[in-house]
């Protein structure tokens, strides 16, 4: 996988294994983005919306609800971006596939990738131990597979951040 920054856009160059992993990640995240916060698993709701933390602070209920609505709307927009990238990954057969994103979309894509990392960690009960170097000692399992996906997406986050780092948002 490579990421190249041009003047006003980013090029993400993906080879076959990366396309397969990213496609799976985007399918999952775009579906979850459309789920109302109240219908998400508790652990995901807490990570994406900080529900427990917000209710323990002295924030008014109306404010919490408003922020959650805004967040859900933002995630809904990101679901559309995820789907547009999925379409590119699904339609092109020759490798590598080049995904071109405006800097603004690349910034949102970074959020999408990180959200998927958080989602995988939350639903698979992945914490400090699993994220440490000892993860390779985990027995083959859905949890170990999730850790591998998280690390693949971490590589993507690093590439995106290193290219977006000095770009203005929006």
């Amino acid at each position: 996988m490579q990421v190249n920054k041009q003047l006003d856009h980013l090029e993400i160059i993906l080879f076959e294994p990366e396309v397969l992993l990213l496609r799976q990640a985007l399918q999952q995240i775009s579906a979850n983005y459309k789920v109302s916060p109240d219908d998400l698993p508790d652990e995901v709701k807490e990570l994406w919306y900080a529900t427990n933390q917000a209710s323990s602070d002295d924030l008014p209920e109306d404010d919490i609800e408003f922020v959650h609505e805004q967040l859900a709307e933002f995630k809904g927009e990101n679901a559309k971006l995820a789907e547009s990238i999925l379409e590119i990954l699904s339609q092109r057969m020759e490798m590598p596939i080049v995904v071109t994103l405006s800097l603004r979309d690349a910034d949102n894509f970074l959020t999408i990738v990180n959200d998927q990392r958080l989602y995988l960690a939350a639903v698979n009960g992945i914490g400090e131990y699993e994220m440490s170097e000892s993860w390779e000692e985990l027995p083959p399992s859905p949890k170990k597979m999730a850790v591998m996906h998280i690390h693949f997406l971490a590589w993507m986050v690093e590439l995106l951040v290193s290219n977006l780092g000095d770009s203005p948002r929006g």
Binding site: Q53, L59, L71, F74, L118, A121, I150, V161, R169
Partner: protein
Amino acid sequence: MRLFPKPSYLAAVEAPVAEPDKKADLDEAFDRGWSVIVWNDPVNQMSYVVYVFQNVLGFTFQKARHHMLEVDNQGRSCVAQETREKAEFYWQ
């Protein structure tokens, strides 16, 4: 809501006066007494946290890195002291 001194040409316009309870609510909302605290977790990457601090909070790289290391080493960092509205915006 604050009552600004009226210029003479607006003298005919009555400035709205907030009721005492609502005034207290509004004063509290606009008071910069809301701390934005970032907590540590095992999943978010250091580079991503620095990036977010720079882009959302407008920190320089050095300041962003300082707060990221504080989160990593001490478990949390207070990154802003703001009005409630702005603090909620940062939370989003």
